[in-house]
Structure formats: C-alpha cells, structure tokens
C-alpha cells in the first residue's frame, strides 16, 4: 500500500510517500511494524496522540482495519483556516 506523510511527520520520516508491503491487520499494527524498522519511524510515531490517520483519504482511527485499503496517510492534527 502507499503510505503518505505530511507536515512534521514527513520531515521526520524524510520522504513524502513510499510503498510498503505489510501484513498488518490494523493501522496500529502497521505503526508498530514501522516503528521497529528504523529510528526515524520511531521518532515520527513516538506519540500517537499527536497524530491523525486517513485511510483512502478519509479520516480514520488507529484501530481501524487495513483490509482493502490502498492509501494510508499520517499527519499531525490539521491546522486549516
């Protein structure tokens, strides 16, 4: 699936998007998998309460299932307006 990062999450990870093969069942599972990969992921995902997630461009939750999802996006709380 495609993983997208925005704002400071993108800066900590170092890329705006990447394609990842994962067998994680939920978003939380995917985060755990990424955290163990490299320090930059651990740094970006250190505090999940500071993050939001969108699945296929719809805001979602960290316990949401990833079944059939093509695009996961991680970002800080939005600051529009």
């Amino acid at each position: 699936m495609d993983i997208l990062y925005f704002a400071w999450v993108r800066e900590r990870i170092g890329v705006p998007r990447e394609r990842i093969e994962s067998s994680a069942v939920t978003v939380a599972g995917l985060v755990e998998e990424l955290r163990t990969r490299e320090d930059r992921y651990a740094a970006a995902f250190a505090d999940l309460s500071a993050l939001r997630v969108a699945l296929d461009q719809e805001l979602s939750d960290f316990d949401a299932p990833l079944d059939g999802v093509r695009e996961v996006a991680f970002f800080p709380p939005m600051t529009g307006g």
């Binding site: 461009q57 709380p77 529009g80």
Partner: protein
C-alpha cells in the same frame, strides 16, 4: 456551492461581490476572511501551507455540503490557499447566503470551525532568524466542534 483549493491569490472584493450578485435574493450574506498573521510581531517572513492534494477538495466539499444540509442556505463558498504566503496575505475565505442572517452567521462559523480541524492543511511559520515552526493545533479548536 463552490469550493476552491488554490495556490493563487484571490481578490476578496471580487469574490465577495460575485457571490453577493449571484445570491442577491438571499437577504443575508456573511463573509469571513483569514489573513496570514504575524503572531511573532515582526519575526514572520512567510507562512507555508501544505495540504493533502488527494483529500483536500473532497474534505472541503463534504464540510460545505454539511453546512448546506444543516442550515437554510441559498449558497456557500469556500476558498483555501496553499503554498508560501506573506504576512497580510489572504489565506482563505468563506461566504454564506441565506434568507435570514442567523443561518448565514451560524453556517459561516460552522465552516470555520470545521476548516480549522478537519480540512487537511498544515501551516509552517518561517521566521526572520531562519527558524521554522509548525503551527500546533489548539485544544479549543477541537472543542469548538462539539457545539455543532
């Protein structure tokens, strides 16, 4: 209803006038404009606004449609910019048209509250000393949504 996500600047007067003309039977038009503010008082060089291109237009359209469904509106307009903006530049505007002012005011406030916390934009302040700061979300912005 019109929603625009754009890098280009817009003319507030032109947009407001066009909206008012298109809704001249409405009775009430409310417009709100967000301006890049120098919170650091002299230290801000630019505001960089990042967004999630695949999601932004749909998110804004959903928010605008919710306002149309919830209040008795004749029309609604949302313009939101992204990219690098200078202090004093317009970031965004909303406009609402209704028969009576209460609907237009409330719907405009609803739009603003949802744009703050549910539209996929992030702001970074570029300061004169070279420092860069992501604007943090505020708890009260999230709390503001509970009143709707």
């Amino acid at each position: 209803m019109r929603v625009s996500v754009q890098e280009d600047r817009f003319e507030l007067g032109v947009e407001a006038e066009a909206f008012a003309q298109a809704n001249n039977k409405s009775g009430a038009i409310v417009t709100f404009t967000g301006i890049v503010r120098d919170a650091d008082q002299g230290g801000l060089v630019a505001m960089e606004i990042e967004h999630y291109p695949g999601m932004t237009l749909r998110a804004l359209t959903d928010i605008a449609q919710s306002a149309m469904d919830r209040w008795s509106l004749g029309d609604a307009l949302v313009i939101h910019r992204y990219g690098r903006l200078a202090p004093g530049e317009q970031i965004m505007m909303v406009a609402t048209a209704s028969r009576h002012r209460k609907d237009a005011f409330e719907a405009a406030e609803f739009l603003m509250d949802y744009l703050k916390s549910r539209a996929p934009f992030w702001k970074k302040e570029i300061l004169a000393d070279g420092a860069e700061d992501w604007v943090a979300s505020k708890d009260e912005d999230e709390t503001a949504l509970t009143r709707w």
